[in-house]
Amino acid sequence: MRAKFALGQYNYADSFLHRLDPRVKILLIFFIVILLFFVKTISGYLILFLFSVFLIVLSKSNFSSVMRSIKPILVLLIFTAVFQIFFTPGTVIFQYKFVKITAQGVKLAIYISIRLILLSFFTFILTSTTSNIELTDGFESIISPLKIFGFPAQEVSLMISISLRFVPVLFEEADRIMKAQMSRGAEFNKGSLIERAKSFLPLLLPLLLNALNRADKLATAMEARGFVIGQKRTKYREMRLSGVDFLAIFVTILVMGISIVVREFV
């Protein structure tokens, strides 16, 4: 089950992207994601798509993992696209009784689908090349100015880090509980949608109890290793901007600029 859940999983490799400062990666991906909602042309999206493919190749990730990263959002993607196709007003290009498809609806559905796919691609690039600790260290550094307002930046980033680490663990646990229940006759893949949803209910309670038990044990282990909430800690990992980071910033800004100014060709 863990293998099926690619989004948010770190790829243990050594690549140009792995070596970049996590703060640079977080901020660049953040701005690209915002940009996705402002690009208005297919050619702009095509440039961003090619850029994401280039980054995936650069990150030494395999494409089957990338494809798996789309799976969790597939239902959302189909639902949104269908909704846009049938309910967007505009020039009617197809009509059967009360069902209407408009040109604007089709265009919007394509745009939203591309946006969601690119969103998962860029998120994948960030999480597959940045370990959870790097992510949280980078995130903590970015939000650290908020400390002057009393915001617990360190605690929040550690909380996120541990939550991220536990995502695959919980999936494995769910898989284990499912198999244990299936061995005692439970059926998760039979019946109507509602029946299937109901069959998952007995899974939730043991999963929740196990998660709470694990959280308790981890908290004890962290305390035993000297962790005290609010206490100052040194940083093992040094974050320093280097030439490759500036190169990455320059290239990304260039690509972002081109994707905005490029003219429509279709």
Partner: protein
């Protein structure tokens, strides 16, 4: 020195988990705490480094009362728990080992040196950039032990660290801890329910229902079969061979309590 002075501890009112417990561990000494499941072993482990505080009596570590400064105790006493998966905080082996060092405010350069040295010593250096969850049971436990040893504690409490391992890994971990503790003059409290493991240990504390039943060397502890049976602890097979030989050859001494020596004599 770790000193338990008439220690009582209860999770529920009127039901002692630990009752009138007295013992000492000197720096550099290797002591085993042997007892069946539910005998209060893990509670004793948590009392040792201030994770739990006694309801009655006192726990002293180098003269510091755990009730006065439980946080100082955590830098003096390192504790490793049974299941390493419940203790990992970092995404990679390196980050996880560094977690405790960050909490102790160890400078970056020194932290890197300690991580390098301890992983080399425990033979897990090649896994530095790997995810701890991908390692074998024995390797995972080595990572958990490394995380605590890197903090350079004066005392080490190992709470059933080999319970989930196969006999070969169990022996490997025991020998490794024994040697490292001897090299670095670390006082060790080795907690287990597996009697075979502690045969070579010079001082064994047998506990049952939170009370100390007996304290002494292998011969004193394991020669009373009826007592061991009453507290749910098995007699080690090697000790049975030793007893048999001792009856035939009275000159057999406890120093010969090793597989190879006894086999030769047989």
């Amino acid at each position: 020195m770790i000193r338990f002075e008439s220690v009582y501890f209860a999770y529920e009112k009127g039901k002692w988990a630990v009752e009138n417990l007295n013992f000492e561990i000197k720096k550099g000494e290797f002591v085993a705490l042997l007892g069946s499941n539910g005998s209060g072993k893990s509670t004793i482990a948590r009392l040792t480094d201030g994770l739990l505080l006694p309801n009655k009596g006192n726990v002293f570590v180098d003269g510091i009362n755990s009730k006065d400064s439980p946080d100082i105790l955590k830098s003096k006493v390192g504790i490793v728990f049974q299941n390493p998966d419940d203790q990992f905080v970092g995404t990679t082996v390196e980050e996880d080992i560094a977690f405790g060092l960050e909490n102790l405010n160890i400078e970056r350069k020194e932290a890197h040196r300690r991580v390098y040295e301890i992983t080399k010593r425990l033979g897990i250096f090649r896994y530095l950039k790997s995810s701890p969850s991908m390692l074998s049971g024995g390797e995972k436990q080595k990572v958990a032990i490394a995380g605590v040893l890197a903090m350079q504690p004066d005392y080490l409490v190992l709470d059933e660290v080999t319970a989930l391992l196969d006999p070969v890994s169990r022996k490997e971990i025991f020998n490794l801890v024994y040697t490292i503790a001897e090299e670095n003059n670390i006082g060790v409290l080795y907690i287990t329910h597996i009697s075979e493991e502690v045969v070579p240990v010079e001082r064994i504390i047998l506990i049952s229902n939170g009370e100390k039943i007996k304290e002494g060397g292998s011969e004193e502890i394991f020669s009373n079969y009826r007592l061991l049976e009453s507290v749910g602890v098995s007699v080690p097979a090697i000790f049975k061979v030793y007893s048999f030989l001792k009856r035939r050859k009275p000159d057999t001494s406890p120093k010969e309590l090793s597989e190879s020596t006894l086999l030769n004599k047989l």
